[in-house]
């Protein structure tokens, strides 16, 4: 914790880019991973897996 307060945070932001931009505005080190929850339902993804020969 002391290290964090002394050196400042290094942020990995997953998803909404605005959170990353806010951190960057504070001049903190940050990267963003453009991630979204799957658009397909779990049921559809499971069915597609079966078509591909999975369980």
């Amino acid at each position: 914790m002391k290290k964090l307060l002394k050196e400042g945070p290094k942020v990995v932001n997953i998803g909404v880019e605005q959170f990353y931009l806010d951190v960057k505005t504070q001049k903190a080190e940050a990267i963003v991973w453009d991630w979204k929850p799957p658009a397909a339902s779990a049921d559809l993804l499971a069915r597609l897996k079966r078509i591909k020969g999975g369980n």
Partner: protein, 419 residues
């Protein structure tokens, strides 16, 4: 149980083996299968006059006046709303059309033949930029220009193509696309190189068949200033190639993506000619001066065939200069291409990208990969004004909406898990 990988590789290999050539020109009603009098073909999935977007309505009104079915825009609108005109997607007639994609019975069309598989595809001539029918404009200058294209441009090109065909020198569109990718085109929103190659290929035949030098000069000047002239031809090449990949049992590869300004629609090789549709996206465009984002119509045009074919937005890495027209940076352009490898069945054997060490373009969109990754196809496209008669407002990037892919994936699972 199907062998998905095998089916997709079969569809992809048929697409890659296609050899689209320009084999002729003709008048739509005498040339395009199923074209009838008082019929207008349009871009995208099926629509009605009631659901038609502004640019489609404007294009329909222009076509009614061009055909002589109406004298004024008001008469044309009344006629179109009366039910006296049949509307049908270009795709139902082995055809494609950019933006509104209106093809009327008297319009001249290019005929392309896929020499490998024997099927044909049809497309109108590109009108140029600005206030043109395909952008929904219908003023007197639009109709006059269409008449000029029919009376002056068409005869010169038709004679030249027939001359080339007679000599066994059918213009090889696939070869031109491959070369254009090495000259900075991505073949959707930048066709400067493709247009130049087309003109260079056909020029000797034009000179050998046209004795009227003034007419010939007019044609050369028009094509020279119409950087998108090659787009239509490349689209028909895509259509002729993709039709050969349709109907492969068990394949989840797309054979059609198209938008009509209201809806986006797609077709999947292993699901026949069934459309899967949803609301069309709103393009994020670099606007021409004087327009606002609120002026922009929803995404429109059969030109999404270019990305389905493995170029356009999928080949943005080949076209760094295009960002001046569509926005962003050359790095953004390269990143779009790299992302598209995640959702395609393979890489192109003929279309390569110098900036990616001559890697083949991502080709053969797999609907299942789109749904699984959440990555939707990216297009770089033109955008029309949402009101009829206003023309183009800009150009930019647009993602195809996920809902149609979800519907197709559900149908794919329904069909192939029950077998």
């Amino acid at each position: 149980m199907i062998d998905l990988e095998k089916a997709n590789q079969e569809a992809l290999s048929r697409l890659l083996a296609a050899q689209p050539l320009i084999v002729g020109m003709g008048i739509a009603k005498e040339t395009v299968p199923g074209m009838k009098d008082k019929m207008l073909l349009h871009a995208g999935p099926p629509l009605t006059w009631e659901t038609a977007s502004g640019p489609i309505r404007g294009g329909v009104m222009a076509a009614c006046m061009y055909e002589g079915w109406a004298k004024t825009p008001e008469e044309a609108e009344k006629l179109a709303a009366s039910g006296a005109i049949a509307f049908d997607p270009c795709h139902h007639h082995h055809a494609v059309g950019p933006m509104a994609g209106i093809m009327s019975p008297s319009m001249p069309v290019f005929v392309l033949e896929n020499r490998t598989h024997g099927n044909k595809a049809y497309v109108t001539m590109n009108e140029g930029l600005g206030k043109v029918l395909r952008m929904g404009a219908f003023g007197p200058e639009v109709i006059e220009h269409l008449q000029w294209m029919e009376k002056t441009l068409y005869p010169v090109l038709k004679a030249a193509i027939e001359h080339a065909v007679k000599k066994g020198e059918e213009p090889d569109v696939k070869n031109m696309i491959a070369q254009a990718l090495h000259m900075g085109d991505e073949l959707h929103n930048r066709n400067k190189a493709g247009t130049s190659l087309f003109l260079r290929t056909l020029a000797p035949h034009m000179v050998e068949t046209c004795t009227n030098s003034a007419q010939l000069a007019e044609v050369f000047r028009f094509i020279d200033k119409t950087d998108h002239f090659f787009l239509n031809i490349a689209m028909a090449a895509g259509k002729a190639s993709l039709e050969a990949a349709a109907g492969i049992e068990g394949s989840s590869m797309l054979t059609v993506m198209a938008r009509n300004g209201t809806e986006f629609g797609l077709q999947v090789s292993g699901l026949g000619d069934r459309w899967f549709t949803c609301e069309a996206a709103l393009p994020d465009v670099l606007l021409f001066p004087g327009f606002t984002r609120e002026d922009t119509n929803r995404d429109i045009g059969d030109s999404a065939i270019m990305e389905t074919y493995g170029v356009g937005g999928f080949a943005l890495a080949a076209a760094p200069a295009i960002v001046q027209f569509i926005g962003g940076t050359p790095k953004d352009a390269a990143n779009y291409t790299l992302e598209m490898y995640e959702i395609t069945a393979g890489e192109n054997s003929m279309f390569t990208i110098p900036a990616l060490n001559f890697r083949g373009t991502p080709t053969g969109i797999d609907v299942l990969k789109v749904v699984e990754t959440g990555i939707t196809p990216v297009l770089d496209t033109g955008a029309a004004h949402k009101e009829p008669g206003k023309g183009q407002v800009g150009a930019g990037i647009v993602r195809m909406p996920m809902d149609a892919f979800l519907k197709a994936a559900e149908a794919f699972a329904d069909k192939y898990l029950s077998e």
